[in-house]
């Protein structure tokens, strides 16, 4: 799923950067038990919904089907829904994994450990 949210293209995405491992570690170490439970409940709900509609699991779906599934849940605004909670949490952690990765902070938006000079005024 993470790889559908931020795909590997000609540059690394969530798949190549193993964003799911970071997401799971954060869930394990930094989330309250009730939120972890809700995440798992939402994941089950999500899997069940996919199975009902496509007669197969998310990973067995084609790339197009996966995009359709994510597009639907990504557009969903109802935060009260467990599946939506699962998705928005996973998406948030995927974005965090990607934007705090060595790849991203070296190649996309460079992080400078030692910036040196601060410029108070730079024209845009």
């Amino acid at each position: 799923m993470a790889a559908t949210i931020i795909p590997d293209t000609d540059t690394p995405g969530a798949g190549q950067l193993s964003a799911h491992i970071f997401a799971l570690q954060m869930l394990n170490d930094c989330y309250e038990q009730k939120d972890r439970d809700r995440f798992l409940k939402g994941m089950e709900q999500f899997s069940k919904d996919v199975k009902e509609k496509y007669k197969k699991s998310f990973t067995e779906c084609s790339a197009d089907e996966r995009n359709t599934i994510i597009a639907t849940i990504n557009a969903q605004k109802d935060a009260g829904d467990d599946a939506a909670y699962f998705y928005s949490t996973l998406k948030g952690l995927t974005v965090q994994a990607y934007t705090s990765s060595k790849y991203y902070l070296t190649n996309v938006q460079e992080y400078k450990l030692v910036p040196g000079k601060f410029k108070s005024r730079v024209p845009v």
């Binding site: 309250e32 996309v108 400078k112 040196g116 601060f118």
Partner: protein, 564 residues
């Protein structure tokens, strides 16, 4: 009396921002000095394990894992208690205390203490501050005035390295400054709006302990220019900001007279009735729990404000049954702090054609403007405020797939945001006090500290006034989406707890004289936050440094005269 190895000219209890200064001054003046620190040693550069870590090298990207956060709710509320610096904070579980009223006691038990972690703001006090209690009828009169401390401010500023502008303001005297970092355009705009609309209100660059242009004295300490990393809380490999670790402690060591003993929990200061003075200290080794006595002619207590209270309260003798020097019954009382509760955020919809680049270690500052020249509100004293404007890359994360990936690569800037927080003076009161618990002791046999400190009506009025006045200033500046908030944070989270061993002219109503000497035990000096008679609004560390250097100078002169 002890043997030679346990006898020194001076003992300094604590190695934080004031203890480091005591160590440096006493060692430089030739005194054989024992510096006792209850925590582990932290050697500059060697013991900063996270200092060069990249964001992705932190397993939780800075966040504190829940297991640690849940076990340590007090320290977890501190803004700097994050994955990169949590090893420099005392965990609640390791060093319990008793909150008779909610009080977030934030501590750093290591060589350097909280000087590794401080916010590095260094504003001088003025006579509006030293004359405050006498003018407004609270606490007791300070036994010193600005002229007494001004040369010592200069003395410590030159060595520590303070960046600032000469602003020429009555309420915030100028000092010995390294160049300031320029404010950004939105901050300068706000500065102009405030200057145009108000008399006596000023927006200036917040003076801070960073080497913007190091001088020889700083290179001699092994420190170089601040690189604007803003990772100060990890310990700075450049020595870009002032800490005991990067500056005073290695300096004292180099002077050749310092013995630094980490893991030393001072249990009590030993008072000798026949000699009518303190002769030394009793120390429990934090690791093996053995007890040793050390002796010296003069003792500096710099254990951090509330721990200094704890130590003096626990130093009882026939002469001082209620704590060392406590003839007045004032010890532990009139504790005060800074009120940091209120904040105001907003947007600035202009200046879209400019931004800033990089990071910087300070921001703008509004010195106190309430009740400065005369009483004019329904509350006493006033507040200073930090102010900063910032803008950064803002990503739209609504989409997913390649659309989201492209959005995350965007360098488009969001608009400017502005923010300000209050730094309110609180009034020391007898009802705000600390005391020893009668029963409970810690692992090292020290009684636990009861903390009984709370806000009062004056603080509540000040929160409201900050919100109103800043809203008015923001409105005049045309800022939008103004949001005021009150964190309701407990006292203590400001990490500016002060008092309990206050200075004063009269031994009947104060603990220390104008030289930070205990009125009743002249060879004991208290020069950390515990000595403060009132709190003013300015971040207090610079004043502790100056008071310490001044007291050390006096102590050595008195010793030479044979007076101590």
């Amino acid at each position: 009396m002890g043997n030679n190895t346990n006898t020194f000219d001076a003992i300094v209890i604590g190695s934080g921002i004031s203890g480091g200064w005591a160590a440096k001054e006493l060692c430089e003046k030739g005194l054989k000095t024992l510096v006792l620190e209850r925590g582990r040693n932290v050697v500059h550069n060697k013991d900063y394990p996270t200092t060069n870590m990249m964001p992705w090298e932190f397993a939780h990207r800075g966040q504190v894992p829940l297991e640690i956060a849940d076990k340590n709710p007090v320290v977890n509320r501190c803004y700097a208690f994050r994955e990169d610096a949590m090893h420099f904070f005392v965990k609640d579980t390791e060093h319990p205390y008793i909150q008779q009223k909610p009080f977030d006691w934030i501590r750093g038990y290591q060589v350097g203490g909280k000087s590794l972690l401080w916010a590095r703001q260094t504003q001088r006090w003025s006579d509006f501050d030293f004359e405050g209690p006498a003018r407004d009828g609270f606490a007791v009169d300070w036994p010193i005035r600005y002229k007494d401390i001004a040369p010592w401010y200069s003395y410590v500023e030159k060595f520590a390295g303070i960046s600032g502008n000469k602003d020429g303001l009555d309420m915030l005297p100028d000092g010995e400054f390294l160049p300031a970092i320029e404010l950004n355009d939105v901050e300068k705009y706000f500065q102009g709006v405030v200057a145009k609309n108000y008399t006596g209100r000023h927006v200036i660059y917040g003076r801070c302990a960073h080497l913007t242009e190091p001088q020889k004295i700083h290179y001699d300490q092994g420190r170089v220019q601040c690189q604007n990393r803003t990772l100060c809380q990890r310990g700075c490999p450049f020595g870009g900001y002032f800490s005991s670790n990067s500056s005073t402690i290695p300096w004292a060591l180099q002077a050749g007279n310092m013995t630094l003993r980490p893991y030393s929990v001072v249990q009590e200061i030993i008072f000798d009735e026949a000699k009518n003075k303190a002769t030394g200290v009793r120390v429990t080794d934090a690791q093996n729990k053995t007890t040793t006595e050390y002796f010296a002619k003069v003792i500096f207590v710099n254990a951090a404000a509330l721990n200094t209270n704890l130590l003096l309260l626990n130093s009882t003798s026939k002469r001082f049954p209620n704590g060392l020097g406590n003839d007045s019954g004032m010890l532990g009382k009139y504790v005060a702090f800074h009120n940091y509760r209120a904040r105001i955020n907003a947007n600035c919809n202009d200046f879209n054609d400019v931004t800033s680049e990089g990071r910087r270690p300070t921001s703008a500052y509004l010195p106190r403007f309430r009740n400065v020249y005369k009483q004019e509100t329904d509350f006493l004293r006033g507040y200073a405020a930090g102010f900063s404007a910032y803008r950064g890359i803002r990503h739209n994360t609504d989409g997913f797939g390649t659309e989201l990936k492209q959005a995350l690569a965007s360098k488009d800037l969001g608009g400017w945001s502005v923010g300000s927080h209050m730094m309110g003076e609180t009034i020391p009161k007898e009802s705000n006090y600390v005391s020893l618990d009668a029963d409970k002791k810690d692992e090292w046999g020290m009684p636990l500290l009861n903390i009984n400190v709370a806000y009062d009506d004056n603080d509540e009025k000040m929160v409201k006034d900050f919100q109103e006045q800043m809203t008015e200033m923001y409105t005049k500046a045309g800022f939008t989406d103004i949001q005021v908030s009150d964190s309701k944070a407990a006292p203590g989270l400001d990490i500016h707890e002060m008092g309990g061993v206050r200075m004063g002219r009269d031994p009947k109503t104060s603990m220390l004289n104008e030289w930070n000497q205990l009125h009743a035990c002249k060879n004991v000096f208290v020069t950390d936050g515990a000595c403060m008679t009132s709190t003013s609004t300015q971040n207090p560390s610079l004043t502790y440094m100056a008071l310490t250097a001044r007291a050390a100078d006096y102590a050595v002169k008195e010793m030479k005269k044979g007076e101590l």
